[in-house]
């Protein structure tokens, strides 16, 4: 049984990992709180649902969703975040909460709170390996999570834009002085974050074959935030490992302790984690200068 719980934990963890990568492009790298990340990609996923129900082929529909996630996040950054970027920590966070509410209620007004079945064609089969069941879809998701992590890390290290992004995360004024097109780069980061978010969201829906408005905040932003903190803000590798650990913790607690207090215990573990190691497992070492 332990092995099956392990598999379940890994598969939920890898779904969280996909969402965390999108979230961490912005939160981890630019250290800008991205409260609306989940709701933005949830809207992108519902766009896919709309396209699929309108009879468009799933692959094209998903592409449409990813592009809409990319554009949506750029627009959000352009109008809601850009001019408050330098006004402390509270103001941008509140603006992000505002955006989250706009997106969530747009979905609620159009599609309502109902759960819709999501037929995307690729369901994958169930492999029975001596009593343990592993879905092929679970393996695809795990591979997708790892490969995206590698691709993004290479993108950051090797490409020009990637270097610009890292420069910006160190210090925006200095990066600007060195000729990094700050606003354009930041909007690209938000765009990639949005696109990755939709991909993560779609695979989440495919994994559960349903879509509902809750995949945005409750199962998206919060889980990604928790994973980023467990893994260490600022490092993509840490965030992915944090996400997988989160998945394992959840399935072990649910399996062996109690489903009644599952969420409370997971939160308790996270809070003690924050209080003991506020910088997480793979923190980036910067001594504070005054």
């Amino acid at each position: 049984m332990f092995l099956q719980h392990l598999i379940n934990g890994l598969s939920i963890g890898s779904v969280y990992a996909l969402i965390t990568i999108g979230y961490n492009m912005v939160y981890g790298i630019l250290e800008l709180l991205n409260f609306a990340h989940g709701d933005v990609y949830a809207l992108g996923c519902f766009v896919v649902l709309g396209l699929v129900t309108a009879g468009i082929h799933p692959i094209i529909a998903i592409l449409g969703g990813v592009v809409s996630g990319y554009i949506l996040n750029i627009l959000v950054e352009r109008f809601a975040y850009r001019s408050v970027r330098f006004s402390g920590r509270v103001t941008p966070t509140i603006s992000a909460v505002g955006v989250a509410y706009i997106m969530r209620n747009a979905i609620l007004k159009i599609w309502g709170p109902e759960t819709y079945p999501m037929k995307l064609g690729f369901r994958g089969t169930q492999l029975h390996l001596g009593g343990i069941v592993v879905g092929t879809l679970q393996i695809y998701i795990f591979i997708a999570a790892i490969s995206f992590m590698v691709i993004i890390s290479l993108f950051l290290k090797k490409t020009k834009i990637g270097q610009g992004i890292i420069a910006i995360s160190q210090s925006i004024p200095t990066a600007a002085l060195l000729g990094v097109p700050v606003n354009r780069t930041i909007s690209i980061v938000y765009g990639i974050g949005g696109a990755l978010g939709v991909i993560g969201g779609i695979l989440f829906c495919a994994y559960y074959d349903t879509i509902f408005v809750g995949i945005g905040f409750a199962l998206g932003t919060l889980k990604a935030w928790m994973a980023a903190i467990i893994g260490g803000v600022g490092s993509l590798k840490g965030a992915v490992i944090g996400a997988i650990m989160l998945g394992l913790i959840e399935s072990m607690v649910a399996g062996y302790v109690s489903t009644l207090y599952k969420d409370a215990l997971v939160w308790l573990i996270l809070i003690t984690f924050i209080l003991i190691r506020p910088q997480g497992f793979f923190p980036s070492q910067i001594a504070e200068k005054i």
């Binding site: 049984m1 379940n8 709170p113 759960t115 969420d263």
Partner: protein, 371 residues
């Protein structure tokens, strides 16, 4: 400066007194969760009521008077329910209240409704304790948890032959009520409940941990005491993880969406329900067709019970229940009412003892289980 703005706000308040005129119509209120997690159930209540009101107005109204209703949204939270109750208990023209959907909302609002003497008839409050709180103006047309859970447990153990059943219950007033009764009823049938788990509807979507645990314990049957979304998801995930068990669900699973979400994993899924969405009997079939083209989805128990309540009040009104007080008396005096959800009458607590139907999913449709 800041103080002036505050004063202005208060003065706007004074101007807002709502004016309403008394016409010779029969007016009532439908209150339920029109937004929030259980908005689907509120929508069903509203649509069922609308169909009944349209039919009655077309055939001359109640006692020659036109029928109208207002809709209020309590978002399924008790605080909001009390605000709605305070607001509408002042409307002198209301004859009765069709609602609340959640038991916790009814409990919160009943003291206010009672002070105004308004009869409250709920289509879906199933928690057993409400009718024992001593509110003489409260009725419900759905069998409470005790009766329905006992029927479900007896059927699951005796007819379906579950030897090692497990209980999964939605952590809400609805789910908790069903769980308490079932946990007591099953041991009396000579079978032990092997495991018990709960989930928060609208949040928890992943049952893989529970399913894995049940495989380890050799569970052969699961009683799912929750709504159709959870039921569908659980059935699908159980099939994926190779847990083939006999599934039996409570009345909230009797919504066509259970099949839509669960797909072929819901084959042979038994559900106790006051109403069969695929019923072929003439009266029910006509109602289902009206509902289908009104709302593009089949009615669940919420729509059917709301429909019955409107006709029930029509019958009581025409027997002298023309104001709030006499309506309560007339409702108690009805010996037998034939509705789409079955034939019933009220006992002195406002409960009904309808015999529920047992439905089973066969090739993606609910069918009636014949003895």
């Amino acid at each position: 400066m800041k103080k002036i703005i505050f004063a202005i706000c208060i003065s706007i308040l004074l101007a807002g007194a709502s004016a309403c005129y008394a016409a010779d119509t029969v007016k009532f209120l439908v209150v339920g969760p029109m937004t929030g997690d259980s908005a689907g159930q509120g929508f069903q209540m509203k649509t069922g009521t609308q169909i009944a009101v349209d039919e009655i107005n077309a055939s001359g109204g109640i006692g020659g008077k036109k029928v109208e209703f207002e809709v209020a949204d309590d978002v399924g939270t008790p605080n909001q329910a009390t605000i709605i109750a305070q607001k509408y208990s002042l409307d002198k023209d209301l004859l009765f209240v069709l609602g609340h959907n959640n038991s916790s909302c009814s409990i919160a609002a009943l003291p206010i409704w009672q002070k105004a003497g308004l009869p409250v008839i709920s289509p879906s409050n199933t928690s057993a304790s409400i009718t024992r709180l001593g509110y003489g103006n409260y009725f419900r047309v759905i069998t409470n948890d005790d009766i329905m859970s006992k029927q479900l447990c007896e059927f699951a153990i005796k007819k379906l032959g579950m030897k090692k059943p497990a209980l999964i219950w939605e952590n809400s007033d609805y789910g908790k009520g069903m769980r308490d009764v079932s946990a007591a009823a099953i041991p009396e049938l000579g079978v032990e409940v092997v495991a018990e788990d709960s989930f928060i509807s609208g949040v928890d979507r992943d049952y893989s941990a529970i399913i894995t645990k049940y495989k380890g314990l050799g569970v052969d049957g699961v009683l799912f005491l929750g709504d159709y979304t959870g039921g569908g998801l659980f059935a699908k995930q159980a099939k994926n993880l190779g847990l083939n068990v006999q599934l039996a669900g409570s009345s909230s699973c009797s919504h066509p969406k259970l099949i839509e979400i669960g797909g072929d994993a819901t084959e042979n899924f038994y559900v106790v329900a006051p109403f069969d969405p695929f019923d072929t009997r003439p009266r029910q079939a006509k109602f289902i067709d009206n509902f289908l083209n009104a709302a593009k989805e089949r009615p669940g128990e919420w729509g059917a019970d709301a429909y019955d309540i409107v006709y029930l009040v029509k019958l009581a009104y025409e027997r002298g229940g023309t104001d709030r007080e006499s309506l309560i008396k007339a409702l108690h005096e009805i010996e037998l009412f034939e509705g789409v959800t079955g034939n019933f009458k009220f006992d002195e607590f406002g409960d009904v003892d309808k015999d529920s139907l047992m439905l089973v999913v066969k090739d993606q449709k609910f069918t009636r289980y014949e003895e």
